[in-house]
């Protein structure tokens, strides 16, 4: 029975011509050691555009991304991807705050991803070259991935995520250790992905980056959303006290 309901609600959404939300979190709670680290989170992300997730250290941003990628399950509440409760993992890509690269060359890391994402063997070499070029990694292609610098590793992780041609791209501070040039390159990759129809959710502590990329800002504090605001308004005048304090550089309590 529930199946029918899901399918019907799907249909009605398609018929009404409104794309279903990329992802919906409803009263999501995630606890560890009796502490609610994500504490009744409600959030709906539309299927398009770039949403930037901001908030102080320990606010629960990375946990929220891992919940959205289906890597951890909420203790309470529901998460829906395109209206259903199972994560379509091959179309959801996550770039971790600390890049995890395989013990192989850069090239082999990307080939592994293309294979895992089901790209046909014949199409792999060309896609591989594209990805290498995108990340400005062509010259590093045959280096062992784990001897690269932090920023180079982050670039590999970023283009590896793009190998999935994801519908939902979750980025956890992907430019935190990049130089300005590499940051600009990654930002342009993010714009391209968003323009190509991917939903991007980006965590950053850099207000400038937020201003450059965001359509809307979600502000998180103590595992709760304090506000969801259009980008230009947020940086002019955030509505929540927590966001005002964060932007002005004061400690939150």
């Amino acid at each position: 029975m529930p199946e029918t309901i899901t399918r019907n609600s799907h249909l009605s959404v398609i018929e009404s011509g409104i794309a279903p939300p990329a992802i919906t979190l409803q009263d999501v709670v995630f606890e560890r050691q009796g502490k609610a680290l994500v504490d009744g989170l409600n959030l709906t992300l539309t299927a398009n555009g770039t949403t930037v997730l901001m908030g102080p250290n320990g606010a629960g941003k990375s946990l929220t991304l891992r919940l959205m990628a289906g890597l951890i399950a909420p203790g309470q509440g529901k998460i829906r991807w395109n209206g259903v409760e199972t994560v379509p993992s091959q179309r959801v890509a996550l770039v971790f705050q600390k890049p995890v690269l395989l013990r192989r060359s850069v090239r082999a890391n990307l080939t592994h991803a293309l294979k895992t994402y089901g790209v046909p063997r014949s199409a792999q070499p060309q896609r591989l070259e594209e990805l290498l070029k995108m990340g400005n990694l062509t010259e590093l292609a045959d280096r062992p991935a784990r001897v690269l610098s932090g920023g180079e590793q982050q670039r590999v992780a970023m283009v590896r995520a793009l190998a999935a041609r994801p519908k939902l791209l979750l980025l956890d501070e992907p430019t935190a250790s990049l130089d300005p040039q590499a940051t600009a390159a990654i930002e342009s990759l993010i714009r391209t992905a968003a323009a190509g129809g991917a939903k991007v959710l980006l965590v950053t502590h850099d207000p400038g980056q937020g201003q450059r990329l965001a359509d809307e800002i979600v502000f998180l504090n103590h595992g709760r959303v304090t506000e969801v605001t259009g980008a230009s308004q947020f940086f002019d005048a955030p509505r929540s006290r927590e966001a005002r304090t964060y932007l002005s550089g004061h400690l939150l309590f």
Binding site: G70, S89, Q90, V92, A93, V100, L102, R104, T116, Y117
Partner: protein, 235 residues
């Protein structure tokens, strides 16, 4: 002392002259040891990986059992295999006792727990690191295991070499199930034991020198592997 020096001289002469008796023993040793380690790898690698990644009832007990089996005394393994293969034993009809096959079986039993246990440890650590990445990519269970085994290749080779070292130096088990029969089941370690007891020091020393050389080679291989794994950050 005179004798001793002479024995050394003769030993080197045997090695340098590729003495047929010496070569026969060495080649059987190699055949038995490499076959045993190969079999141990074929069983131990997947077993270790399943123990590392799998979640099933009895897993904990199995992990403890496998690590306990690492310290099996070779003579006890020899005895157990002897009982299985002896004419009155359950596998007596196969008539394998006192053949190289029996020695391979005994050594494989000795080495499998070592390889399985080391594999489990290495793959489990790596799984902790890769788990979320691989799940976020929607990796299937089978290719998760394949990815982990491949990425652990340096450590797994190390484990295989450790198994090789143990099998090569082992004497108790192969003595019991092989019987140290000349031209049939005589390997380096059993030959050294016998020749020494007979006072035929030249052959014993020659074999001993080769055995030490091989052991140094295995350890050099281990060190080389570790070094290049570190250099490539694949450790």
């Amino acid at each position: 002392m005179q004798d001793f020096g002479a024995a050394f001289g003769q030993a080197f002469a045997l090695i340098a002259g590729f003495d047929p008796a010496l070569m026969e023993i060495i080649s059987l040793s190699m055949r038995v040891t490499f076959s045993a380690v190969l079999i141990a790898c074929l069983i131990g690698l997947p077993l270790g990986a399943v123990l590392a990644v799998g979640r099933f009832p009895g897993r904990g007990a199995l992990v403890v059992l496998v690590s306990a089996l690492m310290g099996l005394p070779p003579v006890v393994v020899g005895l157990a295999v002897y009982l299985m293969l002896s004419a009155a034993g359950p596998l007596g009809v196969l008539q394998l006792l006192y053949t190289p096959t029996a020695m391979i079986i005994a050594q494989a039993i000795l080495v499998t727990p070592i390889i399985a246990s080391l594999t489990r440890q290495v793959v489990e650590d790596m799984h902790g690191e890769y788990d979320e990445l691989l799940r976020s990519m929607g990796t299937s269970r089978v290719s998760t295991v394949a990815t982990l085994l491949w990425d652990a290749r340096y450590s797994l080779l190390t484990a295989a070499l450790a198994g090789l070292g143990r099998a090569l130096a082992e004497v108790g088990a192969v003595m019991i199930v092989g019987g140290n029969i000349n031209h049939v089941t005589r390997v380096m370690t059993t030959a050294i034991a016998l020749e020494t007891s007979k006072g035929a020091l030249a052959l014993a020393l020659g074999l001993g020198i080769i055995l030490v050389g091989l052991s140094i080679l295995v350890n050099a291989g281990l060190m080389g592997l570790r070094k290049s794994a570190e250099r490539l950050a694949y450790a």
